[in-house]
Symmetry: C2
Subunit: 392 residues, 2 copies
């Protein structure tokens, strides 16, 4: 074997400062998209002690109450008092947003909608593997479930001393067959009220967060647990750590198992290929695996700013392909149109569907109806049959 | 073949807004490290029209003139007038930096220096391949050279109409032997004075930037060029695009060819494993390839906050190993100590050596003496012999 025998991925909760920033950026995007689906939005947020700064470039004719959106996101997460470290009702909200450069715009808005140019150059990857039923790598899948569970037991009041900021990390052991077979280490740090003891916290985290979520057959007395290893985590959120949009791009995607092109998602409307082409890449890769053409698949696509056609499309099937690699590439080209216009059309991206993507991962989630459109549409395996047909 | 036949990487110049932010963060780190090597620094920067905001967490007893550092970096890059879009002398500098949380600090500063805990949880990768003589993937290597060349001809006055902001992107074609054999596409966008025509600009970019840098044998009439595809790029820097620290992590590392753990580098002192362990990962991987144990090698390492020993170390040699994979892992464990304390000691990281890393890549550069220490020490192949010895 020349591959990883251990693989580690991490996730963070919705109360992590970088995630606060991502959710603010996507809430602003959604509010604008709801009124003006063709708006150009690139919204970046910084949160630090007592302040949220919104910045970036937005061109729209919608009027939205940005200050209220920012405050609502912060309060919704659970930052509602100085005691927890941040208060959406009273923090400062600073707006230094500008407009999209007309010179970039002239590259994107071409003569016809179909020729719409990519909003930037860049490279993006899409990935899928049959390691889990959501066709995602196992380490990031379970890392997300840990922090989702933290949020659930906090919100439901099961563990009322929990506060919003948390991080999880999982080390999985892979067998010679390339399948996950055990959990080597679990790291979980969660913000908490000052009145819980470390011993009680550790026990509750194991019983109420870790055990309900991780497959029992992967846990043993070999599993190492690191629960609040610093010993104290009362100060959390933006006081302890400055948060910025786009700083959790590996948590947002495949937990490090797949390659990454570097572009962030949150705050960007789908004319930005950083977002829309990464979503399309996931859609293509997932359909390839769903069609049984490979059990692991990674797609790279790249663009030049202002150009509609990708500058490259390339595929890695890691030796797991069941059909010749070149034939899969040809089928992808036949079944999927990866011009920005076509991605936006086929995945129906001009709707306010983005805020839920900004925590617990953009991939491996179930598609559902939201604000009149399909959220996580890129998770549908609706082209698997077409791929198979294209091969014959 | 089941691997990529095309691979695309991109780079950006020192005048790109995200890189302005990275350089400000690292210049602040250097100024503090020069006076107080054990300072705790996590410095995040946002630049937008007319303003640079510095934030994050810093604990130090050094006094540094932060405002002047910010202004100097911006001016050094070439943003010295409203005409180019940004002026370091007159922009606003806003400081909202806080202190490191004492609760995080208690996890990092343990009883003895040797037991120093990791400054955060996280996963990091190191990578090397024998594709180029610097043991880096070819696409990112040449993407960097294009924007470095843009900077050179701008600064030397060869093309006096160039402005600081620029991006490059290269698509390489790989042969069946896994070696790069041709350049499929070159994308280059550069900011410019309004008085140059697009035709003249494109010709000059080809003659003075592209041809001097890219290997002639990889260029042919099949090569596609996309030079300033939007047609106009007079407005650049933070006016056209908000810049943030840590938003070019793929440009900073391996151009997407290697996996990434998601942690950013700039502005972080080496107690943060996001930076120091990624540097160590490169060092390990490069020494493995230099020792001839594999022609391609990727290492993953992970940490729990407050713990000295990594929670995992794992290796991928992509089937290119010349010695059994397990033996290489054992040799790595024998030769390299990956506790934060040991990385900082062995790579000599407590010096002001960081600002040069913040543009044109943290890896694949030559090590050299800077401010009394070795910059890019992680590029030295000084443990290759020890690795070989450990195998016998
Ligand atoms: C450790 S902080 C990053 C380093 C920080 N900028 C510094 O100055 O050291 C990263 C994340 O860890 C979590 N964190 C904050 N305080 C913590 C504590 N006392 N123990 C464990 N994790 C903590 C929060 O989720 C935070 O966003
Ligand atoms: C295209 S911008 C990102 C999108 C932007 N936030 C928006 O609102 O559309 C990304 C980078 O492209 C480069 N850029 C800016 N203006 C450009 C232009 N007119 N043509 C080509 N590239 C440009 C700059 O390096 C900039 O940082």
């Amino acid at each position: 074997m020349s591959e990883y025998s251990l693989f580690t991925s991490e996730s963070v909760s919705e109360g992590h400062p970088d995630k606060i920033a991502d959710q603010i950026s996507d809430a602003i995007l959604d509010a604008i998209m709801a009124e003006d689906p063709r708006a150009r939005v690139a919204c970046e947020t910084m949160v630090k002690t007592g302040v949220a700064i919104i910045s970036g470039e937005i061109s729209t004719n919608a009027w939205v109450d940005l200050e209220s959106i920012v405050r609502d996101v912060i309060c919704d997460i659970g930052y509602t008092s100085s005691e927890v470290g941040f208060d959406g009702a009273t923090c400062s909200v600073i707006n230094i947003i500008g407009k999209q450069s007309p010179e970039i715009n002239q590259g994107v808005d071409r003569e016809s909608l179909e020729q719409q140019g990519a909003g930037d150059q860049g490279l993006m990857f899409g990935y899928a593997s049959d390691e889990t039923d959501v066709l995602m790598p196992a380490p990031i899948t379970y890392a997300h479930r840990l922090v989702e569970r933290q949020s659930k037991v906090r919100r439901e009041g099961t563990l009322p001393w929990l506060r919003p900021d948390a991080k999880s990390q999982l080390t999985l052991r892979y067998g010679a067959d390339g399948r996950p077979e055990a959990i080597d280490a679990v790291v979980l740090s969660t913000q908490h009220n000052p009145d819980i003891t470390l011993t009680d916290l550790r026990e509750a985290v194991i019983e109420e967060i870790i055990k309900p979520v991780l497959p029992a057959e992967w846990l043993s007395d070999q599993t190492k647990y690191f629960i609040n290893p610093t010993g104290k985590f009362v100060i959390g959120g933006p006081v302890g750590d400055c948060g910025l949009t786009g700083r959790k791009i590996i948590v947002d995607s495949y937990g490090g198992m797949a390659r990454h092109g570097g572009g962030a998602f949150s705050g960007k409307d789908p004319s930005k290929v950083d977002r829309s082409a990464a979503y399309a890449g996931r859609w293509v890769a997932k359909n390839i695996v769903a069609a049984g053409l490979a059990s692991r698949c990674e797609l790279q696509v790249s663009y030049a700013i202002g150009e509609a056609q990708p500058t490259s499309i390339s595929l890695n099937t890691f030796g797991t392909e069941t059909v010749a690699h070149d034939k899969i590439v040809a089928a992808v080209r036949e079944v999927f149109d990866l011009r920005p216009f076509a991605i936006i059309r086929d995945l129906d991206l001009l709707h306010p569907i983005y805020r839920p993507t900004a925590s617990y991962g953009h991939f491996g989630r179930d598609a559902y109806l939201l604000n009149g459109a399909t959220a996580f549409s890129w998770e549908q395996t609706d082209r698997a049959e077409a791929l198979k047909a294209a091969l014959t």
